[in-house]
Structure formats: C-alpha cells, structure tokens
C-alpha cells in the first residue's frame, strides 16, 4: 500500500444522520477522503452505504451533520450541485438513457448538452482519446440498450472521467464485472488516484477491498463499527466486522444424487438485440441434483441464453426440453407452470417492480395460484403470512411488507427475488448472477439454499461471472465465449486459470 497522502482531506463528512420511515439509515457517521486515496465503505446489505453516498451526491439531504469539501462547509442540494463541486457518482444501478448513444449519454447534462442541436463529434473524439488513455473500451456510437452490463459500466466511468471529477463515488462498480474487467477497472482507478483524485469504493467482494483500498470503514446498521487498513486485517476479519459473526467464505458442498435430465438444450440458436446470433450451436444438459455453471465474460450470450430458456426471447432454432416437455416455443407463463424458476440478471428491470410493495413483488409470479388468491381475489391473510415467512427466511431487510420495493437496498431486492423464485419449489432453476450485489452473509445464505435445493433434487443452471462462486457451487462448468461453449470442465479440474483462458476464447488445445 502506498502511504496515505498527507495534507487536508478532500472530503469530510461529520455526524451524518439520515432517517427513513422505520429505519435510521445513517447514524452519526463520520467519513473522510484524502486526495489520491481509495477509501472503502464496507457493510452488509442495508447498512446505509448507498444512503451516505447519495447524501454526498445531493440525492438525499442529511437530517443532521456537516459536509466539508477541501475544508469548506458545503450544502449539496442536488446532483448538479455535486457535479459542479467536482463530485461524480457511479450508481449501484446505472443511470444511463438506453435509447441514446454512448456519446449522447456522456454529453447529457454537460453545460453544452442543453442545446437542442448539438454537434457530438468533439465529444466522440474526446471519448476516443480518453478510452486510449484510460484503457476503457467504449464505442461512442453504440446505443446503450445494445450494451452488456459490463460495457454500460465503462460508459458510466467514462462519464465521470469526461467531467474531470475530483472525487468519484463508486457504488458496487464491480458487482457486474468479470475478474479481468475488474483488473482493468482497478488500473483505471489507480490512474485516477495518481492524478490526485479521491475515490470512495463500495463492494461486497472482500478480495477487491483488500487489493484496492487505502483505508476501510465498516458500517453496520447505519453506524460506523470499525476502521482499518488492509495491511492490518484479513478477509475473515473484515467479514466478521461486517456481519458481526463468523462467515464461511467458501460454500459447503455435499454429495447429491444425480438423476435424470431436467433441462436439455440442443443446437440452440438465439438472436441478440441487434439481430445477430448471440447464442449458436449450444448443447447442454442439466440433471436433477446437479448444478451446471456457465462462466464467461458478460456479453457472450449468457443473458440471451437465460432469456430464451425462460421464454422471454424467441428461439431461432434448436430445442429446449425442460422436465420432459419441449418448451422451445412456450410462453414464460407455461414454462413457469412446468416448475421452472428464473433469477434474472437485471433485477430492477425484470425481477421486480419498484413501485410495488415488497409483498406484491413476492407474489408476482404466483399471484394467480392458490393459496395466494382464490377465484381471482387476492387472499391478503395468506399473502401476509406467506410473505412474512419468506422475508424472515431469506432475511430481506425491510421496514414492512407494504414498503415500496424501490426503497429497499440493492442487496435486499436481490434477496427478495431469490426468495420468490425459490418459494414455488421449482424443479429447474435458472440463476443469473444470484449473489450479485448481496453481502457476504447473504451470499453465504444463498449458496447454502442453492446447495440445499440441489440436494433436494432440482436442476440448477448457474450463470455467474464470479468464478469463485461458479467453482464453489458447480458440478460441471461450461465456459461461454461468443455464444458457444468453449469447453466444459468438471468440478475438480476447474481452476481460475483454466477457466480464465477459456473465457478469453483460448480453447484447451491451443494453450
């Protein structure tokens, strides 16, 4: 670690308190960032990290406390105030306009961007230059909706660099990235701190925290419960500080009886959003009691594969058989009724309705089945008991069942979706990035649940960019590259290195 930069802090937060109905999200939090350092904010889902950062970015106003920038007290009433003060933020959920191009998104909100007609060529030019300097591969002419999550994230970073911020907040920037992308990101971030910028970093991945941070502050229940530096701590210790108990970092695998095939994909071809093949010649079988992992860099057809299996995207050719039934042309509802559950990658778009209450989202997929409803009428008593049970079992942190889901913290929304998808006792589970954005305590729980389900005989297709997760949970791992399977490895032979090569498109023979 580099020595902490001396001199006045860039940013000081003092005694910040923020209350929401039913929760104290921040409780007298002190936090500071010095120029040229990465200060990590660590904490469980719902600990108040995003809230603190949103106060800093002007999205929320603190109930109490003071913000000082370069020693001067400031009031930040809106994101535009924050941007003016040189503060940038990369949100946990992206804030890009999907119908615009990369360049348009970057220009959006710039002073000159307010003009009706704008010549974007200088913006495009500058984006190309900056992507050279920072090694950020972004195509200024691509439309956001065409981009995979990892690519979208690079656009967010590009936006911040373009605006030349002096303080950048990164709220779980790595939760959507592959290890290689994370490495690239860290190089970019280091380049930014070397230029004297200060960074606030939020992540649930402890090895990232250990490798990137200069200092670490731990939040629990809205309060600062610890401060440390990487050289004086370990992953286990950090986990303990966050959760307040021992956490098993590697999932516990047990034996399970593998039986007949529950999911059989053959010669599958699926088109992507741009109309070009996203999945081609794809064959895979998942048997009951088995977890098959799909590893791969995001944007190599995983999303399209999952959507096609769930019936959300048409199959161009090939067949999908689930639970003995050909589901190639079935609707999402018919597929669900066959006992197929799906944890989608984009939780706020596909997985939940932000305006709906926690309870409404929990019954979203089963609302028309008894006992949730009878003869078309919702059975509120049943819903109340069923949902409180799910919320308790999956430790979804929410003030009440009536709370709008968009008020939950990111990780808790994910837990809500998983609770719902597993509540129907599925036979086949398609899980896309199931632990993205959830804290280690919750990830441990989700892994345990997945392993239990596997032992109970369901077939799980696990699509994940977290290699530790894929290796830890899967019986077999297929690596996807450009829409095909580059290779399949058994659990024992899979290592990060071998997977990494396959993910880069190098087949085993070529090594």
């Amino acid at each position: 670690m580099r020595p902490a930069t001396a001199g006045a802090p860039l940013l000081e937060l003092e005694g910040i308190t923020k209350r929401f109905p039913g929760v104290v999200a921040n409780d007298r939090v002190d936090f500071d960032v010095r120029p040229g350092e990465v200060h990590t904010l660590l904490g469980e889902n719902g600990a108040g990290k995003s809230t603190l950062m949103k106060i800093l970015y002007g999205l929320y106003q603190a109930d109490e406390g003071e913000i000082r920038l370069r020693g001067e007290p400031v009031t930040i009433e809106s994101p535009s105030d924050a941007i003016e003060q040189g503060i940038g933020m990369i949100h946990q959920h992206f804030m890009l306009v999907p119908t615009l191009t990369v360049a348009e998104n970057v220009a959006l909100g710039l002073p000159s961007g307010r003009r009706l007609m704008q010549d974007l060529s200088p913006v495009q030019q500058r984006i190309r230059e900056l992507s050279e300097i920072y090694g950020l591969a972004v195509d200024p002419d691509a439309y956001i909706w065409q981009l995979a999550v990892g690519e979208r994230q690079r656009v967010e970073i590009m936006k911040a660099i373009y605006r030349d911020v002096s303080l950048l907040i990164l709220d779980e920037p790595t939760s959507v990235l592959t290890p290689a992308e994370v490495e690239d990101l860290f190089v970019t971030l280091r380049q930014m701190t070397d230029g004297g910028r200060g960074l606030v970093f939020i992540s649930h991945k402890l090895h990232e925290v250990m490798s990137l941070s200069d200092r670490i502050t731990v939040l629990r229940g809205g309060r600062v419960t610890g401060r440390t530096v990487p050289s004086e701590t370990s992953r286990e210790q950090l986990a303990h500080m966050m959760v307040g108990r021992e956490v098993r970092l590697a999932p516990n695998r047990s034996e399970s009886d593998v039986a007949d095939a529950r999911l059989a994909i053959s010669a599958l071809e699926v088109l992507g959003d741009r109309g070009t093949p996203a999945v081609t010649g794809f064959d895979l079988e998942v048997r009951s009691g088995e977890v098959v992992g799909i590893a791969g860099v995001s944007g190599n057809g995983q999303r399209e594969l999952a959507e096609a299996l769930a019936g959300l995207r048409p199959v161009a050719s090939g067949t999908v058989v689930m639970n003995g039934v050909d589901t190639t042309t079935k609707t999402p509802k018919e597929i669900r009724r066959l006992g197929v559950s799906y944890i989608p990658e984009e939780r706020m778009r596909d997985g939940a309705i932000g305006e709906f209450s926690v309870a409404e989202n929990l019954i979203l997929t089963s609302h028309d089945l008894p006992p949730t409803s009878r003869r078309g009428f919702l059975n509120f008593k049943e819903i109340e008991t069923g949902c409180s049970d799910l919320v308790r079992r999956f430790t979804v942190k929410t003030p009440s069942l009536e709370t709008p889901t968009s008020n939950l913290s990111g990780g808790n929304i994910q837990k809500l979706i998983i609770a719902r998808e597993l509540s129907g006792e599925p036979e086949v589970l398609i899980a896309s990035q199931p632990t993205r954005g959830v804290d280690i305590g919750a990830a441990e729980y989700i892994h345990t649940v997945l392993m239990d389900q596997r032992a109970g005989g369901i077939a799980i297709l696990l699509i994940s960019e977290d290699l530790d997760e894929v290796i830890g949970l899967s019986d077999r791992i297929a690596v996807m590259f450009e829409g095909r399977i580059m290779g399949t490895l058994g659990q024992e032979e899979a290592t990060v290195q071998r997977l990494g090569l396959l993910m880069a498109g190098v087949s085993e023979g070529e090594e």
Binding site: T99, P314, T365
Partner: protein, 355 residues
C-alpha cells in the same frame, strides 16, 4: 379576472358557490353532473394504472349509449328490475367493445392509443348522428316533419328511478359510486388488478412473471370502456327526455364527459375512491359556472375556461409534487427503473408509464 370582464367578482363567485352547493336541489344537480364524470374518471384511472392513456371516453360513452338504447328499443316490455341491470350490462359491453378496439390496435398493430381513441371518438359521433337522423329517429318527429335528431321516448321500464328525498337524484348516481368502489376492489384486491398495475409500472417484469402485456392492455381498455359505456347509459336513461339525442355537433349528449372525466381522474390522483370527491367538485364547478353566468352575465364558457385554469393549476401542482417525490425516491436504487424501460427489445410491446 372577472373584474376585467366588467363583472363584480364577488357576486360572481357567490353565485357560483350558491349554484353548486346552495341547498339540496343544487347539490343534487352537482351530483348529477358529477355522475358521468365519476364513471369515466374511474375508467380512465384503470387505463392509466395499466400504463395506457384513454382519450376515447367520448366514443365509449356513445357506444354504450347506442347499444343500450337499441337493447331497450328491442325489449321495451321487460319488467324494470330485470331490464335495468341488463341495460347497464349492455351499455358496458358497448363501451368495452369500443375501448377494446383501441386496445387491440395498440397491442397487435402497434397503433398509438391516443391516435386510435381520438379516431374512434369521431367515428362514434358520426355513427350516432347517422342513426339518429335515420333508422333510430323518433317516428313522431318524422310524422310531425320537424325531424329533430333524437329517438322516441324510451320505455319507461328503463327509466333510472328517482331516489327518495325530493331531488332529481336518480339511481345512476348510486351506480357510479358503486362502480368506483368496485374498481377500487378490481385494482387492488384482485389478481387481474395486480396484473393491470404490474403491466402499467413495468412491462418487462410483468412479462418475466408470466403475464401477457398485450392481453392486459386490451383488458385495461375494455374495463375502461365499460365504465364509460355505463356513463352513456346513465346519460340516456337518466336524462330528462329519457331518450338518446344529438345536437349534431361533436359533443352530442355527453357534455364532454369523456374529456372532463380525465380531469376528474387526475384530480382524484388516479385513485378510484378519490375520484368520487374529485368528480363531485368538478361537477359542482360545471353547475356553478352556469349559475354564475346567470348572475353576472359572463358567458359560462369563459367561466369554465377560468375554472379550467384553476383545475390545471391544482392538478399541475399535485402532479409536480408526486413527480418530485417519485424522482427523489426513484433516484436511489431504482434510478434505472424508468431508464431501462426501453422499447427496443425485440418483440416487446411498447412499454409506457402513466405520466
């Protein structure tokens, strides 16, 4: 502003208040005026909640009125207690068919619903005028040769019974309130309502959860149209002439309820129960404007325009407020919620949020 027009504002507004709320008779008139607004408003609310905008209230009112009139002309002798419910049902069907067309066009031919409902309004008015000048014209008018475009006096068995209390209030007012409550139940207590609201908020997640966005858009229009169709029934069978009539112009017998109902719905915060007081206030405003016209000799149209401005301000500020609150809460985790609803996904129906 009234002063500018050379009238005493005090007298004017006193007349407005008195005309709208002064005494049982005026209150009853306000309630009668509010009745179709409430039915339409509730219908509009359902559509809005499902993420579609129904500007077709006028056409659906007319469709409901025509179909129920034809029905009563065909079965004039059925006893009242059977005929009345059936008339409402037929009227609702008429509106549902007319509204459903806009839904089908949107879901399966990607025709913008604002466009299609406006077109359907125009078509409905033309059909009405054609029918009333031709086959449906009162035979008595033809004999007399005056040829006023309205039907004969419809069967007394289908008259909406006057409620006790000595005012002109009739059953239609009760039906309207009842339907508002029923729609509250539909939207918030039934699986169908959950699906409508889900589709309105987030078509992607709805599709993911196994709902058919297209089907629910059509259904939303049908429910919405059914409410407007019932408004048509109350306007025909609760009218003083007990007949279907037209002035030959664009608004016919509806008194623009198909449009005013939209205002009532927005004023009621797109909640079926709040639409009840909102419609009443709006109905009172319409009645009061007439009284004011009589008192200060300012054209009612102008007064309505003034009051319209008031409504715009009220609704506008409410809208701005909810909007602000929404953006504030959305911009936390949910920021992408509204962004990511891009319509570009292949084969997806066009998602839309209620404004």
């Amino acid at each position: 502003m009234l002063a500018v027009l050379g009238a005493n504002p005090m007298t004017g507004y006193a007349a407005l208040l008195d005309g709208a709320f002064g005494g049982a008779k005026n209150l009853a008139n306000s309630a009668l005026k509010a009745m179709p607004l409430l039915l339409v408003g509730v219908g509009i609310t359902i559509a809005f909640r499902a993420g579609v905008i129904n500007i077709g209230g006028e056409g659906q009112i007319i469709a409901g009125a025509i179909l129920s009139t034809l029905f009563v002309l065909g079965f004039p002798d059925v006893p009242s207690f059977i005929l009345l419910p059936l008339t409402f049902l037929v009227g609702a069907m008429g509106g549902a068919i007319w509204g459903g067309m806009a839904g089908v066009l949107k879901s399966y031919a990607r025709v913008n619903e604002i466009l299609s409902t406006i077109m359907l309004n125009i078509i409905a008015v033309q059909i009405l005028n054609l029918l009333l000048r031709g086959p449906l014209m009162d035979p008595g008018e033809i004999v007399k040769g005056s040829r006023i475009p309205h039907t004969e006096r419809l069967s007394g068995n289908a008259d909406l019974p006057i409620l006790p209390g000595g005012t002109r209030l009739h059953l239609g007012v009760l039906v309207a309130v009842l339907m508002a409550v029923a729609c509250y139940f539909l939207l918030f207590r039934t699986t169908q309502g959950l699906r409508l609201r889900a589709v309105g908020h987030n078509p992607f997640a709805s599709r993911y959860a196994g709902m058919s966005v297209k089907r629910n858009v059509v259904l939303a229009f049908m429910y919405s149209g059914a409410m407007c169709g019932m408004a048509g029934v109350t306007l025909v069978f609760g009218s003083e002439g007990h007949r279907l009539a037209t002035d030959g112009g664009a608004t016919t017998f509806t008194g623009a309820a198909g449009f005013n109902g939209i205002v009532a719905a927005l004023f009621g915060g797109l909640h079926p129960l709040w639409t009840i007081p909102a419609s009443f206030l709006f109905g009172a405003l319409l009645v009061g404007a007439n009284a004011m016209q009589r008192a200060v000799q300012v054209p009612a149209a102008l007064i309505l325009a003034l009051n319209g401005l008031v409504v715009v301000f009220v609704v506008g500020s409410m809208y701005a407020r909810t909007r602000l609150a929404r953006t504030a809460s959305e911009s936390r985790e949910q920021g992408e919620g509204s962004d990511s609803r891009s319509p570009e996904r292949s084969g997806d129906p066009e998602p839309r949020n209620p404004p």
